[in-house]
Symmetry: none
DNA sequence: ACGTGCGGGACACCCCGTTAGT
DNA sequence: ACTAACGGGGTGTCCCGCACGT
């Protein structure tokens, strides 16, 4: 028997979302072409317009349904209930750098950061969505650091929220660096510099 | 007497460059409109295409003749021949944040960073120019840190080049943060977190 | 007990017709949107295409089932069997002007006239339907004038058919005038000028 | 030698205006296609956009530069300085009906009336322009009637402004009638009915 | 050195109609 | 009787770049 219409519709919607994510990741939101999206998704303009009210709504949905979950899976879930956050954070950075320099995706930077840089000043819908994601990211890291302080793995004199801000901000900077330098060595150097900074926050860290 | 033709021509070219800088700063390079540029510059398409070979060449010239000098004046010149770089760097960060949150320009981020994020993956001319600028920036900071180490103002165990990478990278991250959060307090917090990190690199710094 | 299926279907059809009437009245037939129609009717595209073969058939049905009955009720029924038509016609004009300038509908003109102006040259189905309605209108007025002549209320030297043509035609002109002038005073003036003309057709009219 | 650029530009602009006038006359403003306009004008979208800021501006320019002058030439100039307006008005009506039923243009109605009916409720720019033209038309007819009263060719008890309103309004109605009936005989009958009404306003008219 | 008319193309929008399903 | 996903086309917009002219 053929699949239910609802299932087929959801699949089409998802294909459109995925194709839009890739298109906007590569070319930016404004320069991204809806024609390219529908072609890549194997759909038509009619289908796109049926599922989304326009380019803007599609972009917002990409943030909500693709970018957000990606962030959660890659950066937030690993910190869930962790009492010793440093190895986890360092592992995330190192794994990301290794994966993306290997895959070639890295020259396009971080999808979330790209959208934030491009669209935040121009569209409040994008800005508020991305601001909320970044705030959640900072909060998750800060919580983990605070748990580490209670568990004795993080130095008690560290300002957890300020450090979390620096961690998130550095992540943005690292992808940006990779974009313009296109030099894996420099990206690795930057990642290691950050890991060293994180190391200095550990409870048993020797000075510096 | 009236100005020489060459002077008038240069003035037109400069007005076009300035207008293009503002337009691309606000709307990005791809979404920026040449019509808007010539209108703002009080010139015409003919003048623009006389001075520049097209949109791409105009963008490259903006990097060479506007963005580069701006970087030198704001970040590189202050470090010239300095033996105690920390106060200078911290001063640069604090002044920039104070100025830009005051002027309202900050919501558009850093012009150099914007172009680097948008155009590096798409246009080698942009990428190489911006990469060279960022490399020079890192080198200047690293040199200043090394001079500080020789002068005894910077801890000798610091990796000057890695630290310089982190400084430049954090600067990118701070502007990015300001863009999506539009929260001066968060920007200030980020700047202060970085200043604290710099403080930890001083020769007389207590651990951490 | 619940209503019979046939009744429910008729209700849906009627809601679609009413919504289409309003939509075409406001935006014209060609610029009118079927999406807006189904939304206003609380129905779906499927229902619309179940009851009507397409936009054209819907438009024709609006003429047959909404516009036509409206004409009969407002202009034809009041003249039924009347021997002194002038007060009736004058009353119709005055009542229409009073009602529509009060309700705000008048800026959109006369639904029947709108469709006739827009669609007659483009679609023979519309044209023939509207032509038949206008012919019936003229005939009804002409008959009433002829009855008035037999009854002695209308001057015998009046050409009843020519006068009827002028009456109907003036009605079109009055709505058109209201549309572009959006001036109730001008509309009232026009109506009164026509009433004065009608007055001059009465059997006991003083010259002029 | 080749014509001056300014001349060529004006010619292009005029070709676009003429083509737009015909297109909007035949299909209405909203349903009229700019592609058809540029094709008919032998121009391109770029030229159209250079001369006009968009479809709306083109429509307004058609009213200002084509429809208005047409009205002046056909209806206003003939009344200039005339002391016996009736023959002139009657001649205008009869000539128009003869010309247009002969040429086939009449099935599309009156260009000015078409735009007024379609666009007045939707666009204030159209409405105000067309309202001004119609007001000027009414004023010109009223002035001519008043001059006729002073010269003794028009009955002194006639309300010149009300009669002018009726004349203009009837003109609209006559074209509307022609559109839906597509019957030259009916149009002629309507025109003659109006001429008879005008006859009744002459100073030496027998009552009625 | 600079102004202007213009070419050609791509884009987002959105609409009408159909078809497969309930 | 009614729903909703979807097809394909056509629209107005508007931009970048060129080729004249002066």
């Amino acid at each position: 028997m053929s699949p239910s219409p609802a299932t087929r519709a959801d699949a089409t919607r998802q294909r459109l979302l995925d194709a839009a994510f890739v298109e906007f990741f590569r070319n930016g939101f404004q320069a991204g072409s809806l024609s390219a999206v529908v072609t890549a998704a194997g759909a038509t303009k009619g289908a796109l317009f049926h599922h989304f009210d326009g380019k803007q709504a599609l972009g917002w949905a990409v943030v909500d349904d693709v970018v957000g979950p990606l962030l959660v899976r890659r950066w937030l879930d690993p910190l869930e209930g962790v009492d010793d956050p440093m190895p986890v954070l360092q592992g995330c950075f190192r794994r990301l750098i290794a994966e993306d320099t290997g895959s070639g995706h890295w020259v396009h930077g971080c999808p979330m950061n790209n959208l934030a840089q491009e669209m935040s000043p121009l569209d409040e819908g994008f800005r508020s969505r991305l601001d909320a994601l970044y705030a959640r990211w900072r909060a998750t890291v800060a919580d983990a650091l605070a748990r580490g302080q209670r568990a004795g793995t993080v130095r008690p004199d560290v300002d957890a929220r300020a450090a979390a801000t620096l961690v998130v901000l550095s992540q943005q900077g690292i992808w940006g660096t990779g974009k313009y330098s296109q030099d894996p060595a420099l990206m690795t150097q930057a990642g290691e510099a950050l890991c060293a900074y994180l190391e200095s926050l550990r409870a048993d860290a020797s000075p510096g």
